[in-house]
């Protein structure tokens, strides 16, 4: 038995820092009470900045640590950096609501941090046991956050619904893992890949993989496992919805990439059918069901379902190019979503956030800056050329065509045109519809304008120098294929 080496903890230094920091902040909160919620929020953002520095500071050699439980490589480094940025954006968006009232709970930033640790560990998971515990660590705080507004029946419903369906999906995942273990006798990704390679597509292993993918599809809300998304997005407090929309799906999509190109690579012909179905169903349902929504949060839920469909298209290619396109797509989508929520949160009437789609009528007259910013983000989401959203879709479709999935690509383009209708409808309502009631005059929080401005700058100026981000995603994708 070898003695303990401190070096074995270096690869997960960011997560350890975050865990220790979250617990220290929890202690501060316990002694200072809910009044310190905003202070904790600022400290959490500081902590995340430190963690981001650590993530970028560690040289991305491919390393496994803690008895092969975790792997760190360029892929996980990229994922963790994006997750840290997303968490910072989500915390900045929530800063104002933490001041007082029902949402003024000091636990909010702590729970966000703990969930963030789970997401980062998911990206680093190297066997099914660490995958499962990381996934649960990521989900549990989100269940609590969804139900945070206890005085609101919808919020409680969202929490319960999310919890029960999340538990069900964990059940699927565990059942699949147990079948895989029963076949291969190991939970380790690389050993499993080797065993599957030797034995081919054995029914037991394939069914195990199907259950694992089902469990994960719940997490990224791909059709037909999307039922919870609209209700949870609508019921949860808007700052929590923005968190749901911005970060957790990145971790889940990256997990998809790692699993499908790692342990399940020998089963590629089998999982391709599943991913094609999930992706086409998500794109079609996300586009069609979004058309009739009257609530902006519900609409964004369907938009996120559709966007997961596009991200899965890039997974289909099963190549470094496809993986890089997914990483790029998810990064751009995250930044656009953060900006969109920053503006939605800053439009209020009688102190309450506007949620009805028609409530945005006349925004262009009272606050043109917000209206133009939201319009630019919506154009980007629908994929209008010079904006960032277009490039996300472009590279996904490109990698898809290179791999020869022509029909799927055509369906993707058609549904993206259909989905453009509801993005453009928001713009039409803001600019051309008659205003019913006036909006609040008081300016919203500086932090939200900051996030909106950054997001807008990214969307508008991505075209100027796209190569930096693209090169980074390519390096990250390469490390997965080693």
């Amino acid at each position: 038995m070898t003695s303990f080496q401190w070096q074995s903890l270096v690869p997960i230094l960011p997560e350890i820092t975050m865990a220790v920091g979250a617990m220290a902040l929890l202690m501060v909160g316990v002694f200072r009470g809910d009044k310190s919620a905003q202070l904790l929020n600022i400290l959490s953002i500081g902590l995340l900045l430190t963690v981001l520095g650590l993530i970028l500071g560690i040289t991305p050699f491919t390393l496994t640590t803690l008895n092969n439980a975790l792997i760190t490589d360029s892929f996980s480094q990229f994922g963790k950096a994006v997750i840290a940025v997303g968490l910072m954006a989500a915390l900045l968006l929530s800063h104002r609501d933490l001041r007082e009232g029902v949402m003024g709970r000091f636990e909010f930033p702590v729970l966000v941090l703990l969930s963030g640790i789970g997401m980062m560990l998911m990206v680093s998971a190297n066997n099914f046991l660490s995958l499962y515990v990381a996934l649960e660590l990521q989900s549990f705080p989100l269940y609590v956050l969804a139900a945070l507004r206890r005085d609101n029946a919808q919020s409680a419903e969202a929490g319960v619904k999310y919890f029960i369906l999340g538990a069900l999906s964990s059940g699927f995942l565990l059942f699949g893992i147990s079948l895989l273990y029963g076949f291969a006798g190991t939970l380790d990704f690389s050993l499993l890949a080797g065993t599957l390679m030797q034995n081919g597509a054995v029914p037991g292993a394939v069914i195990g993989m199907v259950f694992v993918l089902t469990g994960l599809a719940f997490k990224i809300s791909a059709v037909p496992f999307h039922m919870w998304t609209p209700d949870v997005y609508q019921g949860a407090p808007t700052i929590v919805t923005s968190l749901f929309a911005i970060v957790p799906k990145i971790a889940a999509i990256l997990l998809f990439l790692r699993l499908l190109n790692g342990p399940f690579a020998p089963l590629t012909p089998d999982w391709i059918q599943i991913i094609i179905f999930l992706s086409i169903a998500s794109m079609i349902w996300g586009a069609l069901a979004g058309l009739v929504q009257q609530n902006i949060k519900r609409l964004l839920a369907y938009s996120s379902i559709g966007n997961m469909g596009y991200a899965l298209l890039g997974v289909l290619a099963a190549s470094p190019e496809g993986t890089a396109s997914v990483l790029l797509y998810m990064t751009i989508y995250m930044i656009m979503t953060a900006g969109t929520f920053a503006i939605i949160l800053s439009v209020t009437r009688h102190g309450e956030g506007v949620e009805s789609l028609h409530g945005f009528a006349g925004l262009s007259k009272t606050s043109p800056a917000k209206a133009y910013a939201l319009a630019a983000l919506m154009f980007s989401m629908s994929g209008i050329p010079p904006l960032a959203g277009f490039f996300g879709k472009l590279f996904v479709f490109q990698s898809l065509l290179e791999s020869g999935f022509y029909i799927v690509a055509v369906i993707g383009v058609v549904t993206s045109v259909v989905a453009a209708y509801y993005y453009l409808k928001i713009i039409k309502i803001m600019f051309f519809d008659e205003q019913q009631e006036s909006f609040d005059d008081a300016p919203s929080s500086q932090a939200r304008y900051f996030v909106a401005a950054l997001s807008l700058a990214f969307v508008l100026f991505f075209i100027v120098n796209p190569n930096v981000l693209m090169a980074t995603t390519r390096i990250a994708a390469q490390s997965l294929f080693g």
């Binding site: 008895n67 702590v110 640790i117 660490s130 549990f140 609590v144 076949f183 291969a184 030797q198």
Partner: protein, 205 residues
């Protein structure tokens, strides 16, 4: 011989009590049958040589979970008869889906293969020749070494569960009268008493 007999007794009672859990009308009886089922499952584990899991099953499930169930059943006023009324119409559908699933798993089990290299893949705990270790020792050896990561993250999950339970249930209510000893002791007569000189023949205003 005795072990075989014990196996059949435990299994028979386990299946019987599991069935009773969902059949009996009185929810308290159903929880009691659940406890009986847990005890028998623990017996089966001990027969398998997994005495640690057997004991944990009794301690955790009987000691904590089942007692919690009993509390909930007795504290909440749920009419189980009413709940059942709605469920009856779904029984055929449930039986159909259950039957299909059972058939599918039967087919899967029939064609089940174990990879030839599975035995090599299984990581055996480092026993170093001592075969007669108890379950608890063996688990302890790998839990804090090979599986320390999963162990630590489980700890974080429990922390989240604790925070979550407090966030969702604890609230500060305004207008509740509490005893504040320090303030009560520090109270001076001048804070609360007003001494007035009352003139003869006139009242206090």
């Amino acid at each position: 011989m005795l072990a075989t007999l014990a196996f059949y007794v435990f299994s028979a009672v386990l299946i019987f009590s599991a069935a009773m859990v969902i059949v009996v009308r009185n929810p308290v009886h159903s929880v009691l049958f659940l406890i009986l089922a847990f005890f028998n499952a623990a017996g089966l584990f001990i027969l398998l040589g997994a005495e640690f899991i057997g004991m944990i099953l009794v301690i955790v499930y009987v000691g904590a979970v089942a007692v919690l169930f009993l509390f909930v059943v007795m504290m909440l006023d749920i009419s189980f008869a009413d709940l059942r009324k709605g469920a009856v119409q779904f029984i055929p559908l449930g039986l159909f889906i259950g039957g299909v699933l059972l058939f599918q798993f039967y087919v899967l089990f029939q064609s089940w293969q174990i990879a030839p290299s599975a035995m090599l893949n299984i990581t055996t705990p480092s026993l170093s020749g001592e075969e007669e270790l108890t379950n608890a020792t063996q688990l302890g050896r790998i839990l804090y070494t090979d599986y320390v990561f999963a162990f630590q993250v489980s700890g974080l999950i429990l922390l989240v569960a604790m925070i979550g339970a407090i966030v969702l249930t604890h609230r500060q209510r305004a207008g509740v009268l509490r005893q504040k000893v320090a303030e009560q002791v520090a109270r001076k007569p001048s804070d609360v008493l007003e001494i007035k000189k009352v003139e003869t023949g006139s009242g206090v205003e």
